[in-house]
């Protein structure tokens, strides 16, 4: 073969090169100008005969050469006319006969040795197949895509027929291979263009599952194209046929699985250096895996990408997004700390905002988060000014969370008022962001500004059309804090109407508590009975085969129900019922400070102080910040302190500690008052009792912090 591997590739078409175009065969060469002139006159016959004479070719060869010339000159219509003059099907028939008959039914590509005749037939085949391929390309350019696809398909069918045993690697004709590779790649594209998507899918699978000896680059291109098609076409592909399955190998069942598999394989190829890095692959994979909420898998893929592809900050930030979406907060925060380091990219707004958001969820990180948020506010300028409001919002959230970490009363109130200020600042930027409205409401509620809180709660429900459950719960809690229990119940009932049964658990518990507050214990018990029925229905409807994530998603938490019921009975002094319920709850969750607290109440109610104290102390050992347990121990000790003075200082320190964590705990204030009274500090006692009574008037039936 003569140099058809010429490396002089040029993007521009025929025009510029036509003077230097030459036709060569059998050792002779000729310029194309003369032939082109004849073609331009529409005289194909003449052009053909001059080629046959000049280069000593047969008619088919001359036609094929002419077709290619026309195609390369950009005259696709002319090319098509020339190709239509060759009986390509007959040529293929002939080739099939001349090809050696299949001796072994082997599908392997490599066959040890072939007679020299093979290369002659390869050459002839190459010529015919190239002609058909160019015919397909010409039809494509003329917009006749369905015909083009059929021609292109016939290239592949013919290859399979002619070379039933495959072609030996060493002897494969480069030009033939080129045509085959082109056709393999073109066919699915043509079916896509013609709108025949099922054909496109089978063409892609044929390209990838049969042996075409594709080089790595073109195989990678086909894999990527197919993955993109599967991801975005919206055409559901039926699973691959059974014939293509090797035993034990993974077979994707649907589009997303197949697409993700292909993209992962591509990434692996890049990492192994088998194909050139294509940035779109990782983006498609990002899209696909985010859709499936599998960002931790995505993080693993990103970590495997070779160094040098991404800058390290880019990689850290992207990984942080992945981990935070997967709920792995501390991994995400650690990465962001690196990328926001002063030597890296300390002003990156997205990273700053994400970091502050993650920190706002954790009291111990809230201070750090406030710093990030402040930096975000400072850096949100110019094009990014719209993000200033988000920065303020995060600042407010972080400061609010920081106020929960006990420092001093002064510090706490400073943080709380700054938090409010920041959230107010945010609302100037985003006056109708419902989330912000909600957060502002909760902040007001925590500071017992119930009027403002209820206004924001209502605004939130309006803005979201009642679609968010926590909005309803919040309004009910605010109303309960205002001691407007019957209204709170109306809100709870309205919320129940808007909720599907599996989401009703928290609302029903709320309702039961409201009933108790209204001194209606029988109805409260009734509500719990309904809750228990719901728990059982839930267990039945989802069956025993539930995945872990589904367990976590259970809206009706059985433990909470039993524990709530135990608490309810304890306030009714039905101690035997309490015991039964606690036993049930204990089967579901062995160690729980709140459960031990209820158990302590039970012993207390039965006047058995030793086991009561033991239960409360166990609760404290489980959770040293458990305020109810602290208060309970303090209360027990202060009661006994009437006679035994020495216990009073212990009670006092426990109660003060409880108030440091939760300054709005009215019971703690009350018992602290008692301690002062027994110790003879009447003025202090008065202050404490006053605080307790004020708080009683604004105490929600569940803590506001349970909402966020």
């Amino acid at each position: 073969m003569l140099g058809d591997q010429s490396s002089e590739l040029s993007e521009s078409n025929g025009e510029n090169e036509s003077p230097t175009l030459r036709l060569c065969a059998n050792g002779a060469c000729m310029k194309t100008t003369e032939v082109e002139a004849k073609l331009d006159e529409g005289n194909i016959q003449d052009a053909e005969s001059s080629l046959r004479e000049g280069l000593s070719l047969n008619s088919e060869e001359a036609r094929a050469l002419l077709g290619r010339l026309e195609y390369q000159r950009g005259n696709v219509e002319g090319a098509l006319r020339v190709f239509e003059g060759i009986d390509l099907q007959a040529a293929i028939q002939r080739l099939q006969v001349s090809a050696p008959p299949p001796e072994k039914p082997s599908t392997k590509k490599k066959v040890p040795r072939e007679p020299p005749q093979q290369s002659a037939s390869q050459h002839a085949a190459s010529l015919v197949l190239e002609a058909i391929y160019l015919k397909a390309k010409s039809l494509q350019k003329l917009g006749r895509t369905t015909e083009a696809a059929q021609e292109c398909k016939s290239v592949l069918d013919s290859v399979e027929k002619i070379f039933q045993q495959g072609i030996p690697d060493a002897q494969v004709d480069t030009r033939l291979q080129e045509t085959v590779s082109h056709a393999v790649e073109l066919l699915p594209a043509l079916w896509k263009e013609s709108g025949d998507y099922q054909e496109a899918i089978s063409a892609y699978r044929r390209a990838l599952l049969s042996q075409w000896n594709l080089d790595n680059e073109s195989c990678a291109r086909v894999q990527k194209d197919f993955a993109v098609f599967l991801l975005h076409s919206g055409v559901e592909a039926s699973p691959p046929s059974l014939g293509s399955q090797v035993e034990g190998s993974y077979v994707p069942r649907n589009n997303l699985e197949e697409a993700i598999l292909l993209l992962m394989i591509l990434l692996k190829k890049f990492n192994q250096g088998k194909a050139k890095w294509d940035p779109s692959v990782i983006e498609h994979l990002t899209f696909g895996l985010s859709l499936c909420s599998q960002t931790s898998v995505l993080a693993k893929q990103l970590e495997e990408v070779m160094p040098g592809v991404f800058s390290r900050v880019e990689r850290w930030n992207c990984l942080a997004l992945c981990y935070s979406a997967a709920g792995q907060t501390s991994a995400a925060v650690n990465l962001l700390r690196k990328s926001l380091h002063k030597h890296e990219r300390p002003d990156d707004l997205v990273a700053l905002l994400l970091a502050s958001k993650l920190c706002s969820e954790e009291p111990s990180l809230a201070g750090e988060g406030a710093g990030y948020a402040q930096r975000a506010v400072n850096n949100a300028q110019g094009m990014d000014e719209h993000l200033k409001g988000v920065g303020f919002r995060m600042l407010g959230l972080c400061l609010g969370k920081q106020a929960k970490v006990p420092t001093s009363d002064f510090e706490r109130s400073r943080l709380q008022s700054e938090s409010l200020k920041a959230l107010d600042g945010a609302i100037a930027f985003e006056h109708n962001n419902p989330d912000l409205i909600f957060e502002l409401g909760v902040q007001y509620a925590e500071q017992r500004n119930l009027k403002a809180a209820s206004r924001y709660a209502k605004e939130f429900i309006d803005a979201t059309g009642g679609s968010v459950l926590k909005g309803w719960r919040f309004l009910a809690l605010v109303l309960s804090a205002q001691q407007r229990f019957s209204e709170a119940e109306v809100v709870t009932d309205a919320a129940l109407d808007e909720t599907a049964k599996w989401d009703q658990g928290p609302l029903l518990r709320l309702k039961a508590k409201l009933k108790i507050s209204q001194s209606n214990p029988t109805e409260a018990v009734e509500t719990y009975r309904y809750l228990l029925a719901l728990v059982q229905a839930q267990r039945k409807s989802f069956g025993p085969l539930r995945t872990l994530s589904q367990m976590e998603e259970d809206k009706v938490n059985e433990f909470e129900v039993w524990h709530g019921l135990a608490y309810l009975y304890s306030s009714l002094s039905h101690w035997n019922d309490v015991e039964v319920c606690l036993k049930k709850a204990g089967e579901l969750k062995q160690y729980s400070a709140s459960m031990l607290h209820t158990e302590g109440r039970m012993w207390e109610g039965r006047k058995e102080f030793k086991p009561a104290l033991a239960a409360f102390l166990d609760g404290l050992l489980l959770d040293e910040s458990s305020v109810p347990c602290k208060v309970a121990v303090g209360a027990l000790l202060s009661e006994r302190g009437k006679e035994h003075q020495p216990t009073l200082p212990v009670a006092r320190s426990l109660l003060s500690d409880a108030l440091r964590i939760d300054p709005t705990n009215r019971k703690a204030w009350y018992y602290l008052g008692l301690v002062h009274k027994y110790d003879g500090r009447i003025a202090d006692a008065t202050d404490c009792f006053q605080a307790a009574s004020m708080l009683e008037e604004s105490d929600p039936i569940e803590s506001f912090s349970t909402i966020l």
Binding site: L2, G3, D4, S6, E8, L21, R22, L23, C24, Y133, L134, E185, L186, S218, R221, Q223, H232, S233, G234, V235, P240, S244, V246, G248, S249, V251, N254, L256, E257, L261, M264, I265, K268, P279, E283, H284, T286, F287, L289, S290, C292, S293, L321, C322, A325, L354, D384, L387, G389, N432, N433, D435, A463, G465, G466, S467, L469, T499, D503, T547
Partner: protein, 349 residues
């Protein structure tokens, strides 16, 4: 196509809220008859355009679609006694695929108007009936089951690659991802399930997206931009409104531009992104496709900004990658046709 459609596929005869019962087509098992009835009843509702004689023509008919769209955009279009809503409901309930396709074509507009109108407290029983019909259809067709995906693990060999790793137990090591959770039947739209019900309607729409006309996709992109709200886009970048700003009059204290902003939980965002992915990246060749792709990329941009404001990492990842992919696709560097033959100077046999 068989003459009698299987009974379990066709839901009970339509009974729309407060509807006066019309002669229904449910007993007619013949497809053609159903289509003809649908066409006839449509002609009594749409008076401004001539209804073509067959369903396939109707799908393509821009004049009729435009007429239906403008009827849908009337302020009280979503009411329970709205004729068009009832027609859409009945038509979908006919269980004839081409008729259902026709209803799905209007899902972007209905969902867009419905969700944005929720805070306005207008009666929308008509829209809700249509959306619930779609939801019920999907609930029945997959028996309420969740749609899951096994995330492949390359250490197992697959049909597309070999692996030297030990052949482990195939099923246990895979990551299972839920892409559409289980569906409970709903007779009414409870507000906390609203996003899910609309999300399922969008999933159905995505399943037929390759048959959807350009206008429908443009409607969708427009709805997305409204849902995302204003998050710092430049004013001049805002495209001309396909949907007239009819709500702006009705909105009280809220900013007009922002009137469509809605909460965007993942159950809504996920199907939205799948549809946008299609509109953004599939077919950038024809003029029509390009228009869709441009609109989709604008919608994507809005959603990207919105997800920054919500600091929603999953949505940031997905929208960000779509935007970068589109940029790459537009880059002439990436538009090389690899199926083109090399243009040599020497042509040989």
């Amino acid at each position: 196509m068989s003459d009698s459609s299987p009974n379990h596929d066709s839901p009970p005869p339509p009974s729309i809220t407060g509807g006066v019962s019309e002669p229904t087509v449910a007993n007619e098992s013949d497809t053609n008859a159903k289509c003809q009835t649908a066409l006839q009843s449509l002609s009594s509702i749409v008076t401004t355009a001539t209804i073509p004689p067959t369903i396939s023509l109707l799908l393509e008919d821009n004049a009729v679609s435009a007429a239906i769209s403008s009827l849908l955009q009337l302020p009280d279009s979503g009411a329970g006694d709205n004729n068009l809503c009832r027609w859409l409901y009945d038509t979908f309930q006919s269980a004839e695929p081409p008729l259902q396709l026709l209803v799905l074509r209007f899902v972007p507009l209905i969902a867009g108007l419905y969700l944005s109108r929720v805070p306005l407290r207008q009666p929308q029983a008509g829209f809700e009936a249509v959306l619930l019909a779609l939801y019920a259809h999907e609930t029945t067709s997959r028996a309420g089951q969740a749609v899951t995906v096994n995330i492949p693990d390359l250490s197992h060999p697959s049909i597309y690659h070999e692996s030297k790793g030990p052949a482990k137990n195939n099923s246990t090591c895979l990551n299972i991802a839920v892409i559409s959770s289980t569906l409970d039947p709903h007779g009414t739209v409870r507000s906390t399930r609203r996003a899910r019900i609309v999300g399922v309607a969008l999933e159905l729409y995505y399943g037929k997206i390759s048959s959807m006309p350009r206008e429908s996709k443009l409607n969708f992109c427009e709805s997305c931009e409204k849902w995302a709200g204003q998050n710092g886009e430049r004013e001049e970048q805002k495209p001309r409104a396909l949907i007239p700003e009819e709500e702006s009059v009705a909105v009280g204290g809220r900013s007009e531009k922002d009137s469509g902003r809605i909460p965007l939980p993942w159950e809504l965002v996920q199907p939205i992104l799948r549809i946008l992915g299609h509109c953004c990246l599939m077919g950038m060749k024809g003029e029509e496709d390009r228009e869709v792709s441009e609109a989709a990329s604008k919608a994507c941009q809005s959603l990207y900004l919105r997800s920054l404001h919500d600091i929603n990492p999953k949505a940031i990842l997905a929208t960000g990658s779509l935007l970068r992919l589109r940029e790459m696709a537009l880059d002439p560097k990436n538009q090389i046709d690899h199926t083109e033959i090399s243009s040599d100077n020497v042509l040989s046999v």
